[in-house]
Amino acid sequence: MELKNVDNELYSFALKSALSEVRNVCPGIKTSFMFKKDGEIIAGDEGTPEKVVARVVDAFDSVLEKADAIGGVECMTLECSKGRANVSCMDDLYLVTVTSKKADVNHVNIVTRVLIPTVLKLLEKIHPAPLKSNLPTSETEPEIPAVKEAEKPAEVSAEEPITEELKEPLEPEPSLPEPPVNQLIVEDLRGLLVPSDTVRIDGETLSEWEGLYDGRKIEEVEVETFDGNVTQCEVKPIKDWKYEGKGIIRIPEKIQLTLEIKKGELVRVKPIVE
């Protein structure tokens, strides 16, 4: 794990240096940074606040999500009255460059499309692992012993009487803490690709809940109105930054109708842990 962090730092440092060199060669570049397909920022310049970068990634993600019809996004170029912005796909990474109006676009394109892929290829040859290891191992590892523990009594039970053996793994359950209840404000969740059985709440709230239950993934919640209507539905973290950290629950129209509530009302939400 530590080695991986060191490798990631090296990657980040190498790419940051490369971007810095590109900016030296092309003074017309105002901002440049790179991020992974999962949104993780790999390298950027110091002049661009992280918040701005996060919002750019979020905006681009909304395009990326809907670009299957044209075969994904290889490149996106935005031309404006005061400059241009470009997002290019390079392997598993996206490079964002923002240039001033006076910048020589061809020169910028040539430099970035040669230098950055070269650096990426070099890094890939030196340390092939970091940029491809997107899955956090720490989350999957604890699940393996849990599964094994559950399997062991089952194997024994095939040979011996079942009743007593099965009681053992059930014992830890009473120690689970009471599910916390959060009061959240209802916000509409609309869109063509929105599943009608899934609500969205703050990722931070979900993480807190998961922390309470030893990292168990919270996939369902119980939503209760102040009139006493209750429903259970799937839950996912809010994607849109505009709704983050505001104590909001985004609910599809169908669930709103079931609960007889509408936008702006308060509901009680608690996680369902099995």
Binding site: R55, K66, C75, M76, C80
Partner: protein, 133 residues
């Protein structure tokens, strides 16, 4: 908005461009019809607050293309705001198979879909000429 797209999809199946609502956009439509005949052009979407004209060769992709157009234009506004880039002139999204040019002329949101080897600059020049007029 969805209803508008759906109704447009229904009528687009008849392989005719369909105008929904009042259409003070005849010049744009004529221009887009001309562009549609350019080599590699797959179709176009023209929308404003009152009407929508959609003409795509493959009507099964109509909703996907409409959603992508809308997202790209929204994202371009966000990019422009974040980096203080001023008024958005146009946005080009290149996929593996298709590329898309979007721009706003007055209140009209235009998206032209084309094959990757199509001449995007030519289309842009044609649309800008119309904008100047």
């Amino acid at each position: 908005m969805v209803k508008k797209e759906k109704s447009a999809q229904n009528t687009a199946a008849a392989a005719e461009p369909v105008a929904v609502g009042a259409t003070p956009i005849n010049d744009l439509r004529a221009c887009l019809e001309e562009i549609k005949a350019y080599k590699g052009v797959i179709g176009y979407i023209l929308r404003n607050s009152a009407s929508a004209v959609i003409d795509l060769k493959d009507s099964t992709k109509l909703i996907d293309y409409a959603v992508l157009s809308s997202s790209a234009l929204d994202a371009s506004e966000e990019f422009s705001k974040l980096f203080n880039l001023g008024k958005v002139k146009n946005i080009v999204v290149e996929g593996k198979d298709v590329k898309k040019l979007s721009m706003t002329i007055d209140e009209n949101r235009i998206s032209v879909f084309m094959e990757k080897n199509a001449d995007c600059e030519k289309i842009l020049r044609r649309l800008r000429a119309l904008e100047r007029n």
